[in-house]
């Protein structure tokens, strides 16, 4: 499906998806990378399954309250008698595979991923310009970036949410804004490094435009570290969504939110500690999985660079 059709005779230009897959598949060379991949894949699979099927309606109080795990409810029930497994499964969706727009529409790809995509785009744009052009452009972009970094993230989240209210898009915006400076920093340092290479001189002496150089000559070579960084950022984003959910200002209902599940369950931690454990585990494993995946990827990409 995603493999490039091998044109015979003519030079096959590798399809970008196949290229991406080519670089991702490196990860299986590394053991921790493989473990990470399967941890992440597990949650993705669960998210996709939950779209078509969950054991029960995640928002319906169908059972006794705070039940321990049993044959009907594999993970038990919460304080309102809702099935925890169904809620846990449904909770993956907004993070990983869908985003709800204010007008009620649903678009694919989850909030965490959109957010990281946003910061990747914004950060790369700023960072490449700062690094490649240097001079005043660099000074100004770096200053703005410094200011953004100076905001403690949580304050930025709080302020953005206080200003704009709750919603998937707001969370995406908050993740984008908090992530962009870090990406910009990375992209800038990569651009600073790559721009010293002779092939950039060659492009310049060919009279190529700065945009061509930044996006055609530099960006493809900065791709590896940026992708690795993005993986880690997805982890941070999930972490942040959990935190916001716990504080009660995260993704809005009706979809269950892992952080919020922890918050609700902790009042009954005496009687039903497992209700706290499951969503916590979910966040932790997903974040760890992404970290391992990124580590594996980094290990392999740097190995191939040498």
């Amino acid at each position: 499906m995603t493999t490039a059709p091998q044109t015979i005779g003519s030079r096959a230009r590798p399809n970008p998806l196949a290229k991406l897959w080519g670089s991702l598949s490196l990860v299986f060379e590394s053991r921790i990378g493989t473990i990470g991949f399967f941890m992440v894949a597990f949650w993705f699979a669960l998210a996709l399954i939950s779209i078509v099927w969950t054991p029960y309606d995640p928002n319906a109080s169908l059972f006794g309250q705070n039940l321990p795990p049993n044959a009907e409810n594999w993970l038990g029930t919460d304080h309102l008698g809702r099935d925890l497994l169904s809620r846990l499964m449904q909770g993956t969706q907004v993070i990983l595979v869908k985003t709800r727009l204010p007008n009620g529409w649903v678009i694919p790809i989850g909030v965490a991923l959109w957010g990281v995509l946003g910061s990747l785009t914004l950060g790369t744009l700023l960072g490449l310009n700062a690094g490649y052009r240097g001079g005043w452009t660099d000074q100004i972009i770096m200053q703005i970036q410094d200011a953004l970094i100076a905001f403690p993230r949580i304050v930025l989240y709080l302020v953005v949410i206080a200003a704009m209210g709750q919603g998937d898009l707001v969370v995406i915006l908050a993740i984008t804004l908090t992530g962009a400076p870090g990406v910009a920093r990375l992209a800038r340092s990569l651009a600073l490094d790559i721009k010293t290479r002779d092939y950039i001189r060659a492009a310049e002496t060919r009279g190529e435009s700065p945009w061509y150089i930044m996006f055609v000559e530099i960006l493809p070579n900065a791709r590896g570290p940026l992708i690795v960084d993005a993986m880690l950022r997805v982890g941070y984003a999930i972490f942040a969504i959990g935190t916001l959910g716990f504080l009660g200002i995260g993704l809005p209902p009706p979809d269950p939110d892992w952080g919020n599940m922890v918050n609700e369950a902790r009042r009954f931690i005496y009687t039903n500690p497992l209700a706290v454990l499951w969503p916590s585990l979910a966040i932790a494993t997903l974040v760890i999985g992404l970290n391992l995946f990124a580590d594996g990827l980094r290990e392999e990409t740097t190995r191939y660079q040498k």
Binding site: R11, E29, T196, Y199, R201, T205, R206, E217, N221
Partner: protein
């Protein structure tokens, strides 16, 4: 010598473990080094030279181990020793110096501290005594102002001085064995010459055994008594240095010698013969003789039977079945090589030949060209913009003319402004002042203001093969880009044109889809040349295009550039720090010092008196791959002054060894800018000394 050798290596094989297998980096190496002897190890990169060195100090990293053989140091076996026993030898009896001095010193510890601990860790000495001994050693290695250097950090001294510190550090405990792995490769010729002198002196004084690794045959000829040639993990020839250069018996050794230009050789009268092919990576070594795919003498036997390192004559071992029959003097280039080379090198060429005899159209004319950079001060006054602006005068009034179809070579030490000059001409930087004209276009403006056609006519070949190509695109894509951008050929012919260009640089269509990481250094450099040629430029600027390549590859690339010049009538500007290469390749040569041209003239004229005192010093520093050549020793003192505050009058006066020939010890040199002395035939010298005096100078090199 009745003594046991300092180092005796027998049958050594070293292997690195990597994921999914092992790399047999070294498979069969044997040699001995006696006290007071300097043993050179040469070979192309990847032959396992460094690996042998590291194995002696027991530092093969986490994944390397000695698979077979023995390493005996003063009669003791080192293989299999306990780490703490090795530790006691290291730094005390065995010392090592390696390539990049800046990297070898800890950036955040004072040099004195780093020196002293070599002593204190191995012996009981007081701090006071250690300090004194370090000072004495620094003096010994001719370090200017040693007491001051002790209190400094590595970044506060120059590269040459750093290497002296590292050498001093290695010698502090008067080791029995000193291992040096390319210790001068990163240094300028003048600095290199001084360091090599030092090594020679120290060997005689301390009677140390030295293992000296280098890829530069000239350097080896200069400092070594005996030489071992390594190829693909094996020692292929071991002999005294004279024998290696005068009567090499292994075809590989011969090949190495044939592919470097002799100082004084030029393209009209001599030819470089590259060794075909490349060193096979450890996992692709052939059967039989490892060299047979590249060997001109190979016969059926060579493919099956592995030769052993055998005694050929007194103290001369060779690993070749036919060592007796092989004679360097009677070597004939294989027919196809001969034909190819004759096609371009034999034909009339350059300044000597007919198509571009003097009086031919001047294609590039530069006059009084200046490029100043604003210096960043660091004091508070500078930061606040209160201090007056200061300028780094990187290029300060340079002028020359280049006729069409010729090559102008530019030489000089690093920091003399060669690269800035090229950057200004190509338009990466705008000029500060002066005139530069090419085909009627103004070259003093930067690229953003240059018309498309000028950009197209002026292209560049870069130094570093590893960074000359964008790692993300295939060879085909990268050569096609300038074709598309400049619309050199219609869109549908691009592919054919790319293939034509690849063939022009002796590659073929099978390279189209390869990525840079699948190419060797020489191949990358060829692609770089093809890319520069794609827009069919009239002038190509080559910034050290071969200095990062192995000698055999270097020869091939130089031949290629010559052929291209012949075929397309391209004019070239050729920068290099290797005077032999420049001499070989260029029609005219400009010698630069501190942003100014010191001497300009036809290539052959520059290399014999009359010449500028600076040129003389450079020539005296060039390592010559011929142990029989006698070279007068002229060493410059100090280092190149800062371009922020260039010396008054003649810029060279602070270091000039010939000033004393002028009255008053050359007072005029410091006071007045020298005149251009015209020798005739376009040869000019920028010096106060009269032409008679300059003519009477003794030639630097005699055979």
């Amino acid at each position: 010598m009745p003594q046991s050798p300092v180092l005796a290596i027998e049958d050594l094989a070293i292997t690195y473990r990597i994921r999914g297998g092992e790399i047999d980096a070294v498979t069969d190496v044997s040699f001995q080094i006696q006290r007071g002897e300097s043993f050179g190890v040469v070979g192309e990169s990847g032959c396992g030279k460094s690996t042998v060195a590291w194995s002696v100090v027991g530092f093969l990293g986490a994944n390397g181990y000695v698979k077979r053989g023995s390493i005996q140091f003063l009669g003791q076996e080192l293989v299999g020793r306990r780490p703490d026993e090795l530790r006691k030898l290291r730094g005390n009896q065995i010392a090592m110096v390696y390539q990049d001095p800046m990297q070898a010193l800890n950036p955040s510890v004072r040099l004195g501290q780093q020196l002293k601990e070599v002593l204190t860790v191995h012996q009981k000495v007081s701090d006071q005594e250690a300090e004194e001994r370090c000072l004495a050693m620094l003096k010994r290695v001719h370090m200017p102002d040693p007491a001051d250097v002790m209190g400094r950090y590595p970044h506060q001294i120059s590269g040459g001085q750093q290497q002296r510190v590292v050498i001093a550090m290695a010698l502090l405990n008067n080791p029995a064995l000193l291992i040096m792995d390319e210790p001068t490769t990163a240094l300028d010729v003048t600095v290199e010459a001084a360091v090599l002198d030092l090594i020679d002196e120290l060997r005689q004084e301390f009677n140390t055994a030295i293992m000296y690794i280098s890829h530069n045959l000239g350097v080896v000829a200069r400092v070594c008594n005996r030489v071992g040639v390594m190829y693909a993990g094996e020692m292929v020839e071991v002999a005294p240095v004279e024998a290696i250069f005068q009567d090499p018996r292994h075809p590989y050794t011969q090949g190495l010698i044939r592919c470097v230009p002799r100082l004084g050789a030029d393209k009209a009268s001599s030819v470089l013969y590259p060794i075909p092919g490349r060193v096979p990576p450890p996992d692709q070594r052939p059967t039989g003789c490892l060299f047979h795919p590249r060997c001109d003498y190979a016969q059926a036997r060579c493919q099956e039977e592995r030769p052993f390192l055998r005694l050929f004559a007194e103290d001369h071992r060779v690993r070749c079945h036919f060592a007796e029959e092989i004679d360097m003097a009677s070597w004939q280039p294989p027919e196809e090589v001969q034909a190819a080379i004759q096609a371009h090198a034999g034909a009339p060429n350059g300044a000597q030949g007919s198509p571009s005899s003097p009086g031919e159209e001047i294609i590039l004319e530069v006059e009084g060209l200046r490029k100043y950079y604003v210096a960043q001060g660091n004091s508070l006054r500078d930061v606040l913009g209160l201090a007056p602006k200061r300028f780094v005068r990187a290029v300060d009034g340079v002028g020359f003319q280049v006729p069409r179809r010729t090559t102008l070579g530019i030489v000089g030490e690093s920091g003399c402004g060669k690269s800035t000059l090229v950057k200004t001409l190509i338009g990466l930087e705008g000029a500060t002042d002066g005139r530069a004209e090419f085909l009627g276009f103004d070259l003093t403006v930067d690229l953003s203001k240059r018309p498309e056609r000028l950009i197209q006519e002026l292209q560049m070949v870069f130094q570093n093969p590893d960074s000359t190509m964008n790692p993300s695109y295939t060879v085909g894509q990268q050569i096609a880009r300038p074709l598309i951008r400049f619309q050199t050929v219609p869109r549908e012919q691009v592919q054919d044109e790319v293939i034509r260009l690849l063939e022009a640089v002796r590659l073929d269509a099978s390279y189209l889809d390869r990525l840079p990481r699948q190419l060797s250094g020489g191949e990358k450099q060829r692609v770089g040349i093809a890319r520069a040629l794609a827009s069919r430029p009239d002038l190509v600027l080559c910034d050290e295009p071969v200095s990062a390549l192995d000698v055999s590859v270097q020869a091939a690339v130089l031949n290629l550039l010559l052929a291209i010049q012949k075929e397309h009538g391209t004019t070239m500007l050729f920068i290099a720090h290797d005077l032999s290469v420049v001499r070989f390749f260029s029609d005219h040569v400009a010698v630069m010092y501190l942003g100014q041209v010191m001497e300009f003239g036809p290539a052959d004229a520059i290399y014999a008196p009359p010449y500028h005192p600076y040129t003389e010093a450079l020539l005296s520093a060039v390592p010559i791959p011929d142990p029989g050549a006698r070279q007068r020793r002229i060493r410059l003192e100090g280092s190149v002054p800062s371009a922020l505050d260039p010396p008054s009058g003649c810029r060279f006066h602070t270091r000039c060894p010939r000033r004393h020939l002028l009255p008053d010890n050359g007072a005029i040199c410091a006071a007045e800018v020298p005149p251009w002395r015209d020798v005739g035939d376009g040869h000019r010298i920028f010096c106060h000394l009269s032409l008679e005096t300059l003519r009477s100078l003794e030639p630097v090199i005699q055979r």
